[in-house]
């Protein structure tokens, strides 16, 4: 059976690429520290020596639209083109081409359906920065095949937070049962408190530092009980109007497992949002 060699949860900040490739006067003052933290985070994946990446993210109204909106969607394609015109325009993100791992996509779809998740699928999926940001930060060579999994954290009505956790638990179990010798890393990205297009956006910190502090503690300690007790679809409006992206962190807590302490925890307090990086090694830390 396949082995899960790393579980990784991260924010996906689209400004990282531009900030850390800028030089001279264009380079923002926080870029050096940000890059140092990312290089340390990247090393946690490199050390695990994965063959395949399962990538959990959320389409930001790029390919998925309100005339036909899936709640959870698995890509199954030999290749995925990546990044969109408006991401080039606003964030300076490069166009990318990633290889797919169709056997694992098929395995996740079949078993996910059989476990009670009516997963949508796509045979032609152009992915966006929720998946390419962690490729850029964690595996900039973009040389490993992926299985993209999209969640709807964006267009209400949304699934309940507990559903994200359960999907994460199922993904963990399903990947562990994949009849393959390959080493799989499961990587998912979301947000802590975040406001987009509302009065609290682009402040000196994230819109709710106290929520961020508690959220990092829940994730780092695998405290699903308290997280699920405090987080509801309604409560997530309070820390910031885009904070429902936190449910992708909850999905990754489901993958890591209740009570699982993260082996790597790091944060960076930036303007507009708090960055947060977590790695678990389910099979023990690599030598």
């Amino acid at each position: 059976m396949a082995s899960i060699v790393a579980v990784i949860a991260s924010t996906h900040h689209p400004f990282y690429y531009r900030a850390t490739t800028a030089t001279g006067e264009d380079r923002p003052p926080f870029a050096d520290e940000w890059e140092r933290k990312i290089l340390a985070f990247r090393e946690t994946l490199t050390r695990a020596n994965p063959d395949v990446l399962v990538m959990v993210g959320s389409d930001h109204f790029h390919q998925l639209w309100l005339d036909n909106m899936p709640q959870f969607l698995v890509g199954k394609a030999p290749f995925y083109d990546a990044n969109w015109y408006n991401e080039e325009r606003e964030f300076g993100l490069p166009r990318m081409l990633l290889q797919g791992q169709e056997d694992l996509s098929a395995h996740i779809l079949r078993n996910g359906l059989d476990e009670g998740f009516d997963l949508a699928f796509s045979n032609e999926l152009r992915i966006d920065h929720s998946i390419t940001c962690p490729i850029i930060t964690l595996r900039p060579e973009a040389d490993l095949p992926i299985v993209p999994i999209y969640t709807n954290i964006f267009a209400p009505p949304l699934p309940q937070p507990s559903r994200f956790v359960k999907l994460g638990e199922s993904i963990r179990r399903i990947v562990e049962q994949w009849p393959s010798h390959l080493r799989v890393a499961i990587i998912g990205t979301g947000h802590l408190s975040l406001e987009l297009g509302g009065p609290r956006q682009f402040g000196p910190h994230g819109p709710d530092p106290e929520f961020d502090r508690r959220a990092v503690e829940w994730i780092a300690s695998g405290d699903l009980d308290n997280c699920l007790r405090e987080v509801t679809l309604d409560s997530l409006h309070s820390p910031g109007n885009a904070t429902h992206g936190f449910m992708d962190f909850m999905l990754m807590m489901g993958v890591a497992g209740a009570g699982a302490k993260a082996d790597h925890v790091d944060t960076l307090d930036l303007f507009h949002t708090m960055e947060a990086y977590f790695t678990w090694y389910p099979s023990g830390a690599p030598a």
């Binding site: 325009r89 297009g197 009065p199 956006q201």
Partner: protein
Amino acid sequence: MSKYLIDKFLYTVDRDPDLVERYRSAPGELVAWWEAERANTVLNCMTGESSTWLRFTDDERQALIDHDHVRLFELGAHPFLTLTLFIAMFERDNKEPLEYQKAFGARLAHFDLPYPDIAT
């Protein structure tokens, strides 16, 4: 209410560089053209298989023509779509980094929780 149609306008204009420029420079003309020619296009269907019933209310149409992102927020337009398109149109006029983004937020300062419902 046609929140869905406002969102469809923001979404389809934002992803087309020519439409972004037309919306910035001639919003009245662009909104009238879009409502007549594009509002009823089902995005993954051929022409001839369009919808027949979508139109803006007068209030919604005027908010779009006026580039009135505060009114769009009040009407329940998806704030991510509004922000992305308005940054595309107006960030270029910044005299300092994030000037437009901060002013955009400041103009919404009178809104308290709960914000207008964005469910479509």
